[in-house]
């Protein structure tokens, strides 16, 4: 379906090369790359000012200005269906004056700049007259970005370079081609290997043999951590509401084996601090032992279980009333890596005497179980936004901890701790690096010592590249963004490319 409406959730991926946001924070380090803004500043914790780039033109030749930015944000207010990141739940006003666009925030929230910065800006002179922008499919997109729409066919579309782009001199590719992906992942993988792609995003088993070996001089891959996969526990249920029990579970797991089974050993065991390492290394609190890694330790796990009232009797871990500890882990059936992790977790917890059942519904049912809070335990994803605040906020904020049967998308383990809320508020309001560091360290220690989620291994980001035509792909030696072609990283990567020698 031809849909280049940048404000919809369902637009085609290439739209991100046609419309630009103000700035793009790296999903690895959080460092900003400026696009339509040249910089921003908090004049106070609730006032955010962006300086807008000058002499930028829309691809139809009309000049771009600060008024377009204000128009776009007001469009989100008028059509809440567009406001998928909750902009207007955090700001009260937006205004332009000369080169500056000023946002007024409801409460001090410095990390929210990430969200504001990434809204794609649309042209007022064309969008003001659209009667129903929500249903608008925008098949003749006019943007400020480095590419414009070329050919469109149902199974493939092509974007061609925008010669009047403000940074046109640095844009190397003359054309970007987007073939449609099939719903069958295996077929896609076969095609990636057999085909002639410069960049694709796919988990491949045994990647050195299946991908690199097909063209050893050009084919490369980079699988950086893009989040954390953890064992979520329902904190509204006993015994998961007991931190000692959670600690016992954490120490009973052999994370190296779990990672090896789940993702072919591409990923490392995760730090229990809640930081995605090494991406967010600079925030790591040095006082936390061994960068927050927990290794399997049966005896100390048993000691923790004993504190929680569970002791090993024969081969089973028996709790109050002489009942064996049992748990149902819910895993969406189509996520084969999570399923493999869940299988290994049940084997390992079974070995310590817990009776584990794997429940494997379709994603929709999994999602309603975890969001509604009716689950025991679940394999789920955590973090990966590139912002420690957002990662911690989504996992720990009591604002998200809805009562059981009221769905919540974040903090579905339903963790509540006033200390965590305070630290989050402090981090949100902090503009100085030292205060940010202090609040982050506090949150790390809460994650580490209270185990709201048993973090297990890093979730991968599966970038496959060919250096045949272009170089400058993100890599371990140049980790400027995650290799994800489906979000704003697309724009970051394409604007980084150089011609292959």
């Amino acid at each position: 379906m031809e849909d280049f409406n940048p404000l919809q959730a369902a637009e085609l991926g290439g739209t991100r090369l046609i419309y630009e946001p103000l700035e793009i924070p790296s999903t690895i380090s959080g460092v900003y790359t400026p696009f339509l803004a040249t910089g921003y500043a908090f004049t106070d914790p609730t006032t955010l000012v962006y300086t807008i780039r000058q002499s930028v033109k829309w691809s139809d030749g009309k000049p771009f200005s600060a008024a377009d930015v204000v128009f776009t944000f007001n469009l989100l207010k008028k059509y809440p269906a567009f406001d998928s990141t909750g902009i207007w739940s955090a700001i009260t006003a937006v205004s332009a004056s000369g080169k500056d666009v000023t946002f007024t925030l409801k409460s001090p929230d410095v990390p929210f700049a990430d969200t504001i910065a990434q809204v794609p800006i649309v042209p007022e002179h064309l969008w003001a007259s659209i009667s129903d922008p929500v249903a608008y499919t925008n098949d003749h997109p006019v943007g400020t970005g480095p590419f414009t729409l070329g050919q469109f066919a149902p199974t493939q579309y092509t974007l061609k370079k925008n010669p009047s782009y403000w940074g046109a001199a640095t844009i190397v590719p003359s054309e970007v081609v987007f073939p449609a992906q099939s719903t069958n992942q295996s077929t896609n993988q076969l095609e990636v290997v057999a085909g002639d792609y410069d960049w694709s995003y796919n988990y491949l088993p045994d990647v050195k043999q299946t991908y690199v070996a097909k063209d050893p001089t050009h084919n490369t891959y980079w699988f950086p951590p893009g989040g954390v996969i953890g064992l979520y526990l329902n904190l509204t249920k006993a015994p998961y509401n007991d931190v000692n029990f959670r600690m016992g579970l954490s120490e009973a797991l052999d994370r190296t084996t779990i990672a090896a089974k789940a993702v072919n050993g591409y990923m490392q065991p995760a730090s229990m601090t809640g930081l995605v390492l090494p991406n967010l290394e600079k925030w790591l609190d040095p006082s936390i032992p061994n960068t927050g890694l927990i290794s399997q330790d049966r005896s100390s796990a048993l000691a923790d279980f004993t504190k929680a009232g569970y002791t090993q009797q024969g081969a089973s871990l028996v709790g109050p009333g002489g009942v064996q500890a049992s748990m149902t882990i819910v895993v969406p059936v189509s996520f084969s890596d999570w399923l493999a992790a869940g299988t290994e977790v049940s084997t390992e917890l079974g070995a310590i005497g817990i009776k584990v059942t794997l429940d494997t519904p379709q994603y929709a049912q999994y999602s309603s179980e975890i969001q509604g809070g009716t689950f025991d335990a679940a394999i789920g994803g955590y973090g990966g936004t590139g912002s420690p605040y957002t990662d911690f906020d989504q996992a720990l904020s009591s604002a998200f901890a809805a009562p059981v049967n009221t769905p919540t998308v974040n903090n579905f383990e339903r963790f509540k701790d006033p200390a965590a809320d305070q630290a989050l508020a402090a981090l949100a309001a902090a503009t100085s690096p030292s205060v940010q560091m202090q609040a982050t360290a506090q949150l790390e220690s809460i994650m580490y010592s209270q185990v709201p989620v048993v973090l297990m291994y890093y979730g991968g980001s599966w970038g496959l590249f060919s250096t045949k035509h272009f170089t400058g792909w993100p890599s371990a030696s140049d980790p400027y963004t995650l290799p994800t072609p489906y979000n704003n990283a697309l724009l970051t990567v394409i604007t980084h490319l150089k011609s292959a020698p």
Binding site: M1, A153, T155, T183, L190, S368
Partner: protein
């Protein structure tokens, strides 16, 4: 008498249609989980961070059905009367009618021609096997057909995909036509589409051949034993003439009935094969719809399949009256 037979069939057709419509409405709603959860799942799988605000936005964009079951049922029935099936959740901005409209030709051509092909070849083989009963040809045909009947079509498809497409590169790996090509009726496009359809069609045809062979063979054998055939033979007609003109024609009748039944069911059989090859037909669409809990798309797909089946059976029932004068007397 005939008039009463036809009237009875019409009444039955209408009641069956209504019952199928109602069942079709209820079935998708019995499933747990909501379309919003499925849509959020798709976003999460793609790595998008989901917030509560995102959830609300998607609920608004998808227009999740609210109101009582009765209200929804009434909307469903009036919608069908106006050929209005709503907007698909899995293909936002596309109406269900559009999604089905663009997929239907692919399935019609792929599965329709496969079935017709399997019907003709299978029936001919069946006639031959029945006529040569107990001879070597009969054994080869029936054993071969039995063997192929046990193959899961998607499995044949996977193996063909691996050896012929991936390893040897003789056929395209996926899709109904090459990326970047806009469907048209040009010769080059048709050739391209044909190239893409060979493997899925082969996988489907080979495995569905057998039903026709068995059916026809058994009917042939039964018919060959009927008095009028023996009589014809005794009257000095050549055996080939007997087999083809008398026995085969009469033995075909039950197979025609089966043809009507199978034509509608064939779309169902193609779900996996189309999925394996990422073929842009109704089967693929149905699987997408089910995994996304896409109520409007699912309802419409079930409706299309069920109604086409009902109509096919109805037509065959009426045809039957013409073909076999004994019916309805």
């Amino acid at each position: 008498m005939r008039y009463r037979y036809v009237r009875r069939k019409v009444v039955l057709f209408v009641i069956t249609l209504w019952a199928a419509l109602t069942l079709n409405f209820l079935l998708p709603r019995l499933m747990p989980g909501s379309p919003v959860d499925a849509a959020l799942g798709k976003l999460a799988a793609a790595g998008v961070t989901i917030t509560n605000a995102e959830r609300t936005a998607i609920e608004m964009q998808l227009g999740v059905p609210h109101g009582s079951l009765i209200t929804q049922y009434w909307q469903y029935l009036t919608g069908i009367a106006h050929f209005n099936f709503g907007v698909s959740y899995s293909f936002p901005n596309e109406t269900v009618a559009q999604a089905i409209g663009s997929a239907a030709p692919w399935t019609l051509v792929l599965v329709g021609s496969t079935t017709i092909f399997a019907f003709i070849i299978g029936t001919l083989l069946g006639v031959y096997a029945g006529w040569r009963r107990g001879k070597a040809a009969d054994s080869v045909i029936t054993v071969g057909a039995t063997f192929f009947a046990g193959f899961p079509p998607f499995w044949l498809g996977l193996l063909a995909l691996y050896w012929l497409s991936f390893k040897l590169g003789w056929f395209p790996i996926k899709g109904g036509y090459s990326p970047g090509v806009t469907p048209s009726l040009s010769l080059s496009f048709l050739a391209d589409a044909f190239d893409h359809s060979i493997l899925p069609a082969l996988a489907l045809a080979i495995t569905s051949l057998s039903g026709w062979v068995f059916g026809m063979r058994n009917n042939m054998i039964n018919t060959l034993g009927e008095d009028y055939v023996t009589f014809a033979e005794a009257n000095g007609l050549r055996t080939r003439t007997v087999a083809l003109l008398y026995a085969a024609r009469n033995a075909l009748l039950p197979n025609v009935t089966a043809f009507g039944l199978s034509l509608g069911a064939v779309v169902g059989g193609a779900v996996l094969v189309e999925g394996v090859f990422g073929y842009p037909g109704l089967g693929n669409l149905l699987y997408i719809a089910v995994s996304n809990h896409d109520y409007p798309l699912m309802q419409a797909l079930f409706l299309v399949i069920t109604v086409s089946m009902l109509v096919a059976i109805f037509i065959v029932d009426l045809l039957y009256v013409r073909l076999d004068p004994r019916v309805g007397q």
